[in-house]
Amino acid sequence: MRKYLSVFRISFAQEFAYKINFILWRVRNVLQIFLVFYLWDTVFQDPERVVFGYDRAKILTYVFAILVVKALVLSARAVDVPGEISRGEVSNYLLKPIGYFKYWLTRDLSSKALNLSFAVFEFLLLYILLRPPIFVQTNPILIVAFIISILLALLIFFTLLFTTGLVPFWVPEGAWGLQFMVIFVATEFLAGGLFPLDILPESIQRVLFYTPFPYLIFFPIQVYLGKLSSPEILRGMVVALFWATFLYLLMRNLWQRGLRVYQSQGR
């Protein structure tokens, strides 16, 4: 446990080694929030208007929740895994008494801690600048359910990112293409990071809810906003747990198969 605490500490400090990188990454997040905020602000100019089951307070809370949930779920260092595999740097870890998955999960958690602290600051700053009406959830059961759904989202995203990052074992230059498709494009739209998925027709939503993507951003925020009934929350958590388990097993299987073909090229 102590060695992972050290990894957490070092990784946290490393983020500060590239301050401009990190600050500009956060600036980009804020810019993306502006797009979504002003879009919905325009749609909900009339405070009494209810569209897609949202009133002004709930939709703008959704927008602000995207900032925090994205910082928690989507910030990750495991995006560097494909590079390590294609450069043969995985050999360094295979020789050390450290679990490769645990190592990257720890680094991800460290990145999430740092991003979350900035996201909270940005949340306050944007709140002061934009003065949106914010919906505050007071039901303790829903708050606990929200926290559980976030933990499941973290696991799904980690296993999804890691699994797509294992491609260089077979195609050394292939990871970026697959990660662009799965992590950047699919996650941006199908996870609810740009718009709440319930603006889509019921039939599309039903199909989407069998994929892992809605459980990354949309589902946790829906739980927080109290838009789901207890059976819907339970069913959502079961599906999210299924995806976390399935992707974990797939990740382990691919990792073991990958190590069999790994040639430590470049070392």
Binding site: I20, N21, L24, W25, V27, R28, L31, Q32, F34, L35, Y38, L39, D41, T42, V43, V51, F52, V171, E173, G174, W176, G177, L178, F180, M181, F184, V185, A186, E188, F189, L190, L194, F195, I199, L200, P201
Partner: protein, 262 residues
């Protein structure tokens, strides 16, 4: 004229090489092309369902909202296709390899800006233009409106070129390029919707600092007959000023190039 043909030949040669490099990784090319088309399709679907549910967006109909998005894509995709080499400029400056560009009998700016077009974007341009034509024809534009639209698209590309020149000039001085480009791209992405939906000070930034409004919103408005001839002239003047200023900045930046590491 002779000089233009000379540069056209160089452009074809450089980009034939760039395409051949990309075509050696067909699977990756397919994945990126597919992903870009997927992203385009997702956003189009989002806009369609959004405006279907809300009836209008800032007073614009669903066809108009989709046309704004299409126009954004034309400027964005064409400028990415033409100016992709900018993303590869930093290593040349850091390693000092830019020396080899400077000694060649051609404009170093031409090489740095247009030296490596993006084949992925080239593949997506024809279907995009067809889509623009189809959606645009539903708006029943007049011939002058179509001419203004095309002229303002060209003006948008000139502003995009000016911004890319400014970014590589800044890279010579500061060695930073990736984040400047990413922030530019994020600001450009705000042009997916008409800039009228944004409030001050963001609207001011999108009009004067990174003039996304002039690059993207104005051409679409011109096709809808919502821009006066004076507005068109002012946009051209701003485009010309942006280009002249960026070229001056490039000349200044070259005097700061240290040829470090070479």
């Amino acid at each position: 004229m002779k000089r233009a043909i000379y540069y056209l030949k160089i452009w074809f040669l450089m980009n034939k090489n760039a395409f051949q490099t990309v075509l050696t990784h067909k699977l990756i090319l397919f994945m990126f092309t597919f992903s870009k088309l997927l992203r385009f399709g997702f956003f189009l679907a989002f806009l369609f369902f959004l405006v279907k549910g809300t009836q209008t967006l800032a007073g614009y109909s669903s066809q108009q909202a989709i046309f704004f998005f299409m126009t954004f894509n034309v400027v964005d995709v064409v400028s990415q296709f033409l100016f992709r080499e900018v993303y590869r400029f930093r290593p040349q400056i850091v390693s000092g390899e830019f020396d080899l560009v400077l000694v060649k009998p051609m404009s170093a700016l031409f090489r740095a800006l247009l030296g490596g077009a993006d084949v992925v974007d080239l593949v997506t341009i024809p279907p995009l233009l067809v889509a623009v034509y189809l959606v645009g024809s539903y708006l029943n534009p007049t011939t002058p409106q179509i001419i203004f639209y095309m002229a303002l698209i060209l003006n948008g590309l000139i502003v995009a070129a000016a911004f890319h020149i400014a970014v590589i000039s800044l890279a010579i001085i500061t060695l930073e390029i990736d984040h400047t480009m990413m922030i530019y791209r994020d600001l450009m992405n705000l042009g997916r919707f008409p800039v009228d939906i944004y409030k001050q000070p963001l609207q001011g930034i999108l009009t004067y600092l990174v003039p996304v409004g002039i690059m993207v919103t104005l051409p679409a408005k011109a096709l809808m007959g919502l821009v006066s001839p004076q507005g068109v002239l002012i946009s051209f003047a701003l485009g010309a000023v942006a280009l002249v200023m960026s070229l001056r900045f490039w000349k200044f930046a070259l005097t700061k190039y240290t040829s470090a590491s070479s």
